[in-house]
């Protein structure tokens, strides 16, 4: 692999519209990384993600866990002096990672399980989500007391909801091409 990192005309033009953001404007002030609540857990920090997009090194980002650590809190965007929509650029990376099957994070699995439930029920069914997630994470004992307490307080529904307009969700998922089962 080459060690020379260079912005080319093609990578600059791709960065200018990446995720509807203007990533080409990033001049590495690091304001995003300094205010990011998740930066400490990212192997590639937000400002470095911007740089890699400018350099056209997107493939490396698609397999990173950093993009899945982003909480979407929008702090970076609200502070960026160049008003780069960093969360939207990271969303774009998430979309590409998901659709190419490169997303290996538990967060990606969470989104799939969450949306699978919405496709089926229309509304979030917390208990179903938690159970499926426990199986996916092989973590069967955490938060069981909390869950029981929530049920006792009537804060968790025991049965899923269903929309009156049946089939509406399925149609929406199909039309928008979201590959959730």
């Amino acid at each position: 692999m080459s060690t020379v990192h260079k912005i080319t005309a093609a990578s600059a033009s791709a960065a200018a519209s990446f995720g509807g953001s203007r990533v080409n404007l990033c001049y590495q002030c690091m304001t995003c990384t300094l205010g990011c609540p998740a930066a400490g857990r990212m192997e590639i920090h937000p400002h470095a993600i911007m740089r890699k997009i400018q350099l056209g090194e997107v493939q490396e980002l698609l397999v990173s866990s950093a993009i899945w650590k982003c909480l979407g809190c929008e702090t970076c965007y609200s502070r960026c002096p160049n008003e780069i929509n960093i969360p939207s650029a990271i969303d774009e990376l998430k979309h590409a990672a998901m659709s190419s099957g490169k997303a290996k994070s538990i967060s990606a699995a969470f989104h799939n399980i969450f949306l699978g439930g919405i496709k089926k029920n229309g509304l979030l069914f917390e208990l179903g989500l938690m159970l499926r997630l426990k199986i996916a994470m092989k973590d069967f004992f955490s938060d069981t007391f909390l869950g029981a307490l929530m049920i006792m307080k009537g804060k968790l529904s025991l049965r899923p909801h269903s929309l009156r307009e049946s089939g509406a969700m399925k149609k929406i998922f199909e039309k928008s091409g979201a590959g959730t089962n």
Binding site: K94, F110, G154, L163, I172
Partner: protein, 279 residues
């Protein structure tokens, strides 16, 4: 004023006391909330992390239902609010065409009505709030917590200041409480990371509750079901700090039966209200 009310998924379950206290205080203020018919989940962070079309379609169906009711939408969850507003504004400014969204959801949608958060709605009517206060929250030190999506991103929420919002603080003051000046107002609680990365949420929620303890707050005041749940269940320290909704405090100050809402909490806030002579 009439609104198409969107309780959101949490409003039906983990945040039901937020939902019911909102309905009670809005009814007292003469704000009519008509629950939307057959609404669906807004898609939350999962939809916008997965696909832009899906995110717009899930919010779009709800927006179309509210539009059919010919009313602006009122949401209690800041995440639902910001997702809905994003689609609404994109259709308004033409970056998402009316035809495209209507075809995705199989319903007409023209973005003719606004989407507002309930905190924005009640804080726009401070005089009406003041008139309803029968039991001022004297002596209660409250830390107003805004979190992310009420104030960020600015062009979507159009609400207050991104770094130092004050509308909830002013509301608390008009209820007679002492709003603490503190550093945790707009910090992120970790959101849906609560499901996948508990240690991160513990760290973030812990920092927020520690900041509130530093300024001797009796309660943290939330405007979001997920933030409230994260702060209540993932905060650090032995002196558990109750986390209540601003609508519950309004209800308490209005002389409504707030005890039934407080009983739903994981950290019981009743002792602190008793200590301040408010219950």
């Amino acid at each position: 004023m009439k609104y198409a009310f969107y309780p959101g998924c949490a409003g039906e379950t983990t945040a039901r006391e937020y939902n019911s206290s909102t309905l009670a205080v809005c009814s007292a203020m003469g704000i009519e909330l008509v629950e939307m018919s057959d609404w669906n989940c807004c898609g939350a962070s999962s939809a916008h992390s997965t696909s832009r079309s899906l995110a717009h379609a899930l919010t779009g169906r709800n927006l179309a239902i509210a539009e059919k009711q010919a009313m602006p939408m009122a949401a209690i969850c800041p995440a639902c609010f910001v997702r809905m507003r994003e689609t609404c504004l994109q259709v308004k400014n033409g970056s998402l065409s009316k035809d495209e969204i209507s075809s995705l959801i199989d319903k007409p949608y023209t973005a003719s009505f606004d989407v507002r958060h309930i905190l924005d709605i009640v804080t726009a009517e401070t005089e009406a709030v003041k008139k309803l206060v029968v039991k001022p929250l004297k002596g209660l030190r409250a830390a107003a917590y805004y979190g992310c999506y009420l104030v960020r991103p600015r062009e979507l929420t159009g609400f207050d200041d991104t770094e130092n919002p004050v509308s909830m603080d002013n509301l608390l003051e008009s209820l007679g409480a002492d709003a603490a000046d503190w550093g945790g107002k707009v910090d992120c609680c970790g959101g849906s990371g609560s499901f996948t990365d508990r240690s991160m949420v513990k760290e973030l929620a812990g920092k927020i509750s520690d900041s509130a303890r530093e300024v001797h707050a009796d309660v943290i005041v939330s405007a979001c079901g997920l933030c409230q749940a994260n702060l209540e269940t993932r905060q650090s320290g032995k002196n558990a700090l109750p986390v209540v909704y601003f609508t519950e405090l309004m209800g308490l100050a209005f002389g409504l039966d707030a005890r039934k809402w407080f009983k739903k909490h994981i950290i019981n806030p009743i002792p602190v209200f008793k200590k301040r002579g408010l219950l």
